[in-house]
Symmetry: C2
């Protein structure tokens, strides 16, 4: 079981999480519980570290001492939850990252888990003790504290589940994964099941339910993950929440599982780039060297012979940097004009079923065209088709596509 920062925000919320855990224990389950820091706490600790490290000449923002500071947030909630569980008559103890140990590499601030010896932990759990584990933190083989990067508690939870050969329930402030954001489309439906690959696409599109890394890990170790609401105090019944699992266990044969909207998009247009081999490679090497993630890429012939127009999208916070990088290299690359447009949104249709079904793109393009929603760019993957539209029409596009694929109907 994993509880996020909202579920740990106050002693009262911690008590509520303890009640859910106690109900699961009463149902005869052997439990390990991974917790986040109190909501807002990690930001506070990071801010203090940044203030004191700010003026450092070339010192990295995240180092070993940063990890000593920020790992403390989860230590607090793990101890508090253990206290609350004992107070309900359960046997419980906290297992800090270095006590298990959750071994990581030494990439402080964004460490990767390399091993979790599950023996001692497993023995304690088998003996009937609830193990409470601070998420986000680990330890190097040298005994230095590490943290896994923001949202790392999901990764901790899946990794612990993998080490214990257990299933993983993620308790969060939503009761599952939906066909689209219910705030955009009232008719959005909770999906009882979703494939790892689909969940990955949803996560990378900004759905805040789980961190992408944790889903990749679950997929690699075949850990069944269930997303559940932490607002129920009763043990979850079968069919509640959303089960994230392997594709073949998904018997629904859906073609499209959901529609995602990302507002964090910016479009860069390079007009009149020289139409010769190596120009595109030059442009995207420069962007990659500057660690600017490019998402969609469209190349089209320009009006002038021997020239092409090139469009790509980046995240909004990278937009200014990408534009500056291109302007600085304008003469080297040889394009004529550059334009930056942040008034765009990306709408994606996601579904593992589209691998084996033609016509998904056709339905999408027709539905948008019928409403006069212009597509500024298109990109596709095996299980996703994304289009870039005018920002003001993004939500409308979501509703149009939700209806076009019949997602409001029970599967």
């Amino acid at each position: 079981m994993k509880f996020g920062g909202t579920s740990m925000a106050t002693p009262d919320r911690i008590r509520r999480a303890a009640a859910i855990i106690a109900a699961e224990a009463a149902a005869g389950k052997s439990l390990a519980v991974v917790v986040s820091a109190m909501a807002g706490k990690t930001n506070e600790l990071v801010a203090w570290s940044d203030v004191l490290g700010a003026a450092a000449q070339g010192a990295p923002a995240s180092d070993d001492e940063y990890d000593v500071v920020v790992a403390s947030g989860e230590q607090v909630t793990s101890g508090l939850l253990a206290i609350a569980l004992r107070n309900m008559g359960l046997r419980a103890r906290s297992w800090l990252g270095w006590q298990i140990p959750i071994l990581t590499d030494d990439s402080h601030g964004k460490a990767r888990i390399v091993d979790i010896p599950g023996d001692r932990l497993g023995q304690a759990i088998d003996a009937g003790e609830v193990a409470v584990i601070p998420g986000f933190q680990g330890v190097t083989r040298d005994g230095r504290l590490t943290t896994l990067g923001r949202g790392g508690s999901d990764t901790s939870a899946v990794a612990v589940a993998a080490a214990l050969k257990a299933a993983c329930d993620i308790y969060t402030d939503v009761d599952g994964v939906y066909t689209t954001d219910p705030r955009i489309e009232r008719k959005a439906r909770r999906l009882p099941r979703i494939a790892y690959e689909e969940m990955l696409e949803f996560a990378s599109m900004g759905a805040k339910v789980m961190q992408s890394r944790s889903i990749e890990l679950a997929m690699a170790y075949k850990v069944p993950v269930r997303v559940l609401s932490s607002f129920n105090e009763k043990p979850p019944e079968a069919g509640q929440g959303t089960l994230i699992c392997e594709e073949e266990t998904d018997v629904e044969q859906r073609i499209v599982s959901g529609i995602a909207l990302s507002r964090d998009e910016a479009k860069v247009t390079l007009l009149g780039t020289p139409d010769r081999v190596g120009v595109a490679a030059d442009i995207f090497s420069r962007l990659a060297d500057a660690r600017l993630n490019v998402d969609m890429i469209i190349q089209s012939p320009a009006m002038t012979a021997g020239a092409a127009n090139l469009v790509f999208t980046v995240g909004r916070r990278d937009a200014a940097a990408a534009e500056k990088l291109m302007r600085d290299a304008q003469s080297a690359i040889g394009f004529k004009e550059i334009a930056l447009d942040t008034d765009v949104a990306k709408v994606s249709v996601i579904g593992v079923g589209m691998r084996s079904h033609a016509g998904v793109a056709g339905t999408m393009f027709k539905a948008l065209a019928d409403k006069g929603i212009a597509m500024q760019a298109v990109s596709t993957s095996e299980i996703k088709i994304s289009v870039l539209v005018e920002a003001g029409r993004g939500e409308e596009a979501v509703r149009v596509l939700h209806a076009a694929y019949g997602l409001e109907e029970a599967a």
Copy 2:
């Protein structure tokens, strides 16, 4: 070096502490620095633990999970100070209690240090790295976190100094130990030196400069301790602060070092206790069994033959418990009446010099009598004479005695 919670209260204060440390390092010293949690932080963590553990049936307030929670406060400041020191160009790292390790027994919430293997720590310091150590925390041989009880960071600092065979500078919000509280007597003087035994008496009288346990430890391991102000940014010069050291090194040959006032006193009077062997033993055994610390005891003949009046003092927060304990045992003990008086204060004259000088008590009693200050009780030790007076005249008594022993004059 040890910095308390006030010196760690904000990033700005932490930066100021780092500047003091950097100045000491620049002076060529090898340094270990022990830090408290941010002022107020431990109270917050304790409050959360108490709220969640409150309803526990018979569960101890301080257990292993309480320690997991409250030890986090010092972890945060040790990491932040290490960040600040690195930012000033120093080599520094935090050493958490379990990393050194600071081994303790398993009396959670009030653990005692049993060993500090200083080898690895000493090597790192000798190699020019500032070691930043969270105070207050330790670890059992089983690898469970412990804390040393409130104010335990002083004890951590002295213990680390003992393990490293180093001297210990305690940075605090006063610039040394005074002949008496300067808020009571303007003419109070800073003592350049004070014997461990004297400092113990000052500490047990409520002087908040250092925790008693830490002074006992310093005395046992002959660790020279200096109390210094954390408000200077320059390295302390010789003669600054107050050096707490062995008696024989104190060449001043003072008779009385200072006057202390304790307002945390309550007087219990038992009238008409039976004047027979074993009654006093019975009374004080009952108080000891209930863990109520008795300070002064005076027995005097009562007006009735075969009876005695017995007066004792306890700390104010124990007063109600002591009174109830006595009332419940009234028929068993056989006294006639009980009276509780919290309108009292204790004034003490302290000095290792009084061991070899007669006349100290005479001077005290005469000075108080000349001003008409009645002594309700007297107790003496080898280096201290305490009298109980009406609370409203406590400060006046301090000033009278400060003058009577000539403490305002340069020694």
